[in-house]
């Protein structure tokens, strides 16, 4: 089996008879077969390993797509509301009896509605229907004098029913919609009032306790602010540190310590950075909780080591002839670096930056610790307002018990992955378009 076994057969020991190996013998043929079989087995193990990893990736993406795609449409009821006779004070639109108006209009959609069934019937529609109508009227007061149509989202259980997620054949006690609701839903549907348009609310609504109204606007804005702060800090500081360490720093103990330190910092678990943010930025400096500014600050400290390492590598890849030429015609060291070397290294620095920011975008644990998992129903206006971010929003939704949030969570993950793919695509494009090989 082993090459070692051969040597004992051929090595001339004391008194040993030298027997030539009969390579054509059955034993040798079997040996050869076994050796080649072992070779093939190793190859097959490798293929299985790769197939396992890629199969996992495929299953992950498919599962998320199959659970998530439903959240990209939302079941809506198109309801006509006659506002010409409604008692609405035009100067005080906020305080009109919108609930009464909307309920009256909804009641007209079905033939008969006994008082005892009202609760079940109104449960078909989102409980915030009157706010939707109110906001639409405030946006366009012209609707007041006439009959106009409004798209009212159905409540989560009915949305699930319309998407085939709830089996109406099941006994009533085992499903979240009762027979009354199904009867009324079918009556409305038979009138052609139910539609499933693209769920713009997923991108333009902020978070909500009700799955049918919950959207990612707050999370996307929050993530944008976080990344902006992270970029504004880690980009200049990272480049400056890299230039100093690569071009200026004397070789001594201190710079050695700095380098070891940077390498170690790159491997510190992200949750530890969260603890740092909580104790130092929130505890000692008293910065506001849940603020994108603090999130960006923490993530910038986290991406800084990556930025420094990437920038140093790209500075190193610029040939020294360029520096020498610049110095040779009288440029100062700063001028050689900032006018010649850095611009040449910039494409790969940008590539590294975008990849670092993409990592920061998916980072969750530090943001949880500084409180960016709060329930906030409006997008943040600036970096100091409490907000969520995309990954923390996913965390919140994944923890919510309502069935509708499962699909929303998957949809939010698909949105996050979409952003990551876009950022990486830009990075790849930059690399291929602008990076120079010397």
């Amino acid at each position: 089996m082993t090459p070692g076994a051969l040597t004992t057969a051929v090595s001339p020991g004391a008194g040993a008879v030298i027997r030539p190996v009969d390579w054509k013998s059955d034993a040798m043929a079997a040996r050869r077969r076994a050796r080649y079989a072992a070779d093939r087995r190793l190859k097959i193990y490798g293929m299985v390993a790769i197939a396992f990893a890629i199969g996992f990736l495929a299953i992950l993406i498919t599962t998320l797509s199959f659970t998530g795609y439903r959240a990209f449409v939302q079941t809506m009821a198109t309801v006509e509301i006659d506002l010409s006779e409604a008692e609405v004070d035009r100067d005080n639109l906020m305080d009109a009896n919108w609930r009464g108006i909307v309920r009256g209009a909804l009641r007209k959609q079905v033939a008969e509605l006994p008082r005892s069934l009202e609760r079940d019937f109104f449960g078909i529609f989102t409980s915030s229907a009157h706010f939707i109508v109110r906001d639409a009227v405030i946006a366009d007061p012209g609707r007041l004098g006439r009959t106009s149509t409004f798209a009212i989202p159905l409540s989560d259980p009915l949305d699930q029913l319309a998407k085939g997620q709830i089996n109406p054949e099941l006994p009533e006690s085992q499903r979240r919609v009762n027979d009354v609701q199904i009867k009324y839903y079918e009556e409305i549907e038979s009138k052609g009032l139910i539609s499933q348009p693209f769920n713009w609310g997923l991108f333009f609504n902020a978070d909500s306790r009700f799955p049918e109204l919950a959207g990612l606007a707050g999370a996307i804005t929050g993530s944008f602010w976080v990344l902006l702060v992270c970029f504004l800090i880690s980009f200049p500081v990272g480049i400056a540190a890299a230039i100093y360490l690569e071009e200026f720093a004397p070789k001594n103990r201190i710079t050695d310590i700095i380098e070891i330190n940077i390498n170690n910092l790159a491997a510190v678990p992200s949750v530890v950075f969260g603890l740092l943010g909580l104790a130092v930025f929130l505890g000692w400096f008293g910065l506001p909780r849940s603020a994108p500014f603090v999130g960006g600050l923490v993530l910038s400290l986290m991406t800084l080591p990556t930025m420094i390492i990437v920038t140093r590598a790209s500075l190193k890849s610029v040939p020294s002839s360029i520096r020498e030429a610049a110095l040779g015609i009288g440029a100062s060291k700063h001028e050689a670096i900032f006018h010649h070397i850095l611009p040449l290294a910039m494409p790969s620095v940008m590539t590294g930056t975008i990849i670092g920011l993409a990592q920061a975008l998916g980072e969750t644990a530090p943001l949880l610790l500084i409180g960016m998992n709060a329930f906030i129903t409006s997008p943040p206006g600036d970096v100091f307002e409490a907000s969520t971010a995309l990954p923390t929003q996913i965390y919140i939704w994944a923890d919510s018990p309502e069935r509708g949030f499962v699909a929303r969570t998957s949809a939010a993950i698909l949105v996050l992955l979409g952003f990551l793919v876009a950022m990486n695509a830009i990075a790849v494009f930059l690399r291929q378009r602008f990076e120079r090989r010397w």
């Binding site: 050796r35 080649y36 072992a38 070779d39 093939r40 087995r41 190793l42 190859k43 490798g46 293929m47 299985v48 390993a49 790769i50 990893a53 990736l57 992950l60 599962t63 998320l64 500081v237 990272g238 400056a240 540190a241 100093y244 200026f248 390498n263 170690n264 491997a267 510190v268 678990p269 949750v271 530890v272 603890l275 740092l276 909580l278 104790a279 505890g283 000692w284 400096f285 008293g286 080591p305 420094i308 100062s332 700063h334 998916g362 980072e363 969750t364 644990a365 949880l368 610790l369 998992n373 600036d382 990954p391 965390y395 994944a398 969570t409 998957s410 993950i413 992955l417 990551l420 990486n424």
Partner: protein
């Protein structure tokens, strides 16, 4: 307010840059003598003088304002000296709420007076900040612009400032580490003032659900970290069992067997696996893997927990595959061609060459990679927060739910937290353990790679 001030500083810096350049051009054109620096350097220098001192002052002011105002307000409060730290922070937050006009119960006259005091101090602080920043900016602009002249070495001045900025930047990494160590140590020492060190290090019970108010019914609380470490160990080992063979075998296949075309397809796919945020893995573990493992367990007659260690560990293992694979890949690539060729020349098959020549030669690199992956597994948070259990239990059964250090840190600190009860402080103690442990693993990994790397 601070935002407007920053904007003002930016505008002021740009204006003085433009003015400085204009002045430098004027002086250059007025005299036949050749100036030391080009006008652009004079402009940038003026901008630095205008903006930087005021900016630094602004940042320092913002960082310390709250603490100073709190101290002054409490100083003016009757018998504030007798209060404990926790009572102080409660008092100050009540005063702040009253000042912001958002308190439901009727405040006492002392608190109302303190709130007025706070408001007046904050107004004063705001205007003082504006005044000092504006003064610093104008004085800086005056000196920066006045210095412009033929002999003035503006370029040297600018380059010096840039060098200082670069030196400060490379210190940020050190400051970060120092900040981590200081904050963790500080909070941990406070924790040890409440819970004995020996209980934390050697205790076998972890039950941090303690009463926050005296009238609450809750457990006594126990802070022994051994069960938590044990759970971390179990889940990391499960992850390594998945990741090590898969990672190394796929690296072997990719470097030795696969042709260039397959490699070009498979490597990026594996890198995608590395680029997926861990919260996505966590959600997938909860959504798909955990129910699957539970049903497999039930069909085997084992009562699998819905958040079994196997689900969390297995998914974490998949997350680590690309990590181990790419590090092993590098280790294989570093083995010189001649060793491979020598083995082939002796008649070894490809598989024998890999197992007997390549693997031993690449072993230090692979071990280093495995240790780095282990340190990642120990520090990994979101997968276990979503998929692993909350109760600390000493169980080696992979179908049981166990908890990890990171899970405990996150669950102890989520929600509003005050830094004065053992529950929140325990998280920092665990954080320190985690930091020291991963740091140790990283150092061992790096030295392994460096020390045992054969020099070919």
């Amino acid at each position: 307010m601070a935002g407007y001030l920053l904007g003002f500083l930016l505008v002021a810096a740009i204006v003085s840059a433009v003015l400085g350049m204009a002045r430098a051009r004027m002086k250059r054109d007025a005299s036949p003598e050749k100036p030391h620096s080009r006008p652009i350097y004079h402009g940038v220098n003026a901008a630095i003088w205008t903006g930087i001192p005021a900016f630094v002052f602004l940042v320092l002011w913002l960082m310390s304002q709250n603490a100073v105002v709190d101290m002054l307000v409490l100083g003016g409060f009757p018998d504030a000296d007798a209060l404990s730290n926790a009572e102080r922070s409660l008092l100050i937050s009540e005063i702040r709420q009253v000042a912001a006009g958002s308190l439901f119960k009727e405040p006492t006259p002392e608190i109302l007076a303190a709130a007025e005091h706070l408001k007046s101090l904050e107004a004063l602080a705001k205007w003082a900040m504006v005044a000092v920043v504006a003064a610093l900016a104008s004085v800086g602009a005056f000196f920066g612009l006045r210095a412009i002249g033929h002999r003035y070495q503006a370029r040297h001045s600018v380059e010096r400032s840039v060098t200082w900025f670069m030196m400060f930047s490379s210190l940020v990494a050190i400051l970060t580490t120092a900040g981590i160590v200081a904050s963790l140590l500080y909070e941990t020492l406070q924790f040890f003032a409440k819970v004995p060190v020996t209980e934390f290090l050697f205790g076998l019970r972890w039950e941090p659900q303690i009463a926050i108010r005296a009238d609450q019914v809750a457990g006594q609380g126990a802070f022994g970290m051994i069960p938590v470490l044990f759970g971390t160990f179990v889940i990391s080992m499960l992850a390594m069992v998945v990741a090590i063979p898969t990672g190394i075998l796929s690296a072997i296949y990719l470097t030795e067997y696969a042709d260039e075309r397959l490699r070009a397809v498979v490597k990026p796919l594996l890198e995608i696996l590395a680029g997926i945020p861990t919260i996505v893995y966590g959600f997938f573990a909860v959504l798909t893997v955990a129910p699957l493992i539970r049903s497999i367990g039930l069909s085997l007659g084992v009562d699998a927990s819905p958040n079994s260690a196997l689900a969390a560990g297995g998914v974490m293992g998949v997350m680590l595959i690309p990590f181990i694979s790419s590090l092993s890949d590098d280790a294989f690539a570093a083995v010189p061609r001649a060793m491979r060729d020598g083995s082939y020349a002796l008649g070894a098959t490809k598989g024998e060459t890999i197992r007997r020549v390549l693997l031993p030669a690449a072993l230090p690199g692979i071990v280093g990679g495995v240790l780095l992956a282990l340190s990642r597994a120990v520090g990994e948070t979101m997968i276990v927060v979503m998929a692993a259990g909350l109760i600390a239990r000493m169980s080696l059964n992979p179908f049981d739910a166990v908890t990890t250090v990171t899970v405990q840190i996150v669950t102890l600190l989520i929600g509003d937290s005050e830094f004065d009860n053992p529950k929140t402080l325990a998280a920092f103690a665990l954080g320190l353990v985690l930091f020291v442990f991963t740091l140790g693993l990283n150092l061992i990994a790096l030295t392994t790679v460096r020390k045992y790397r054969e020099k070919y």
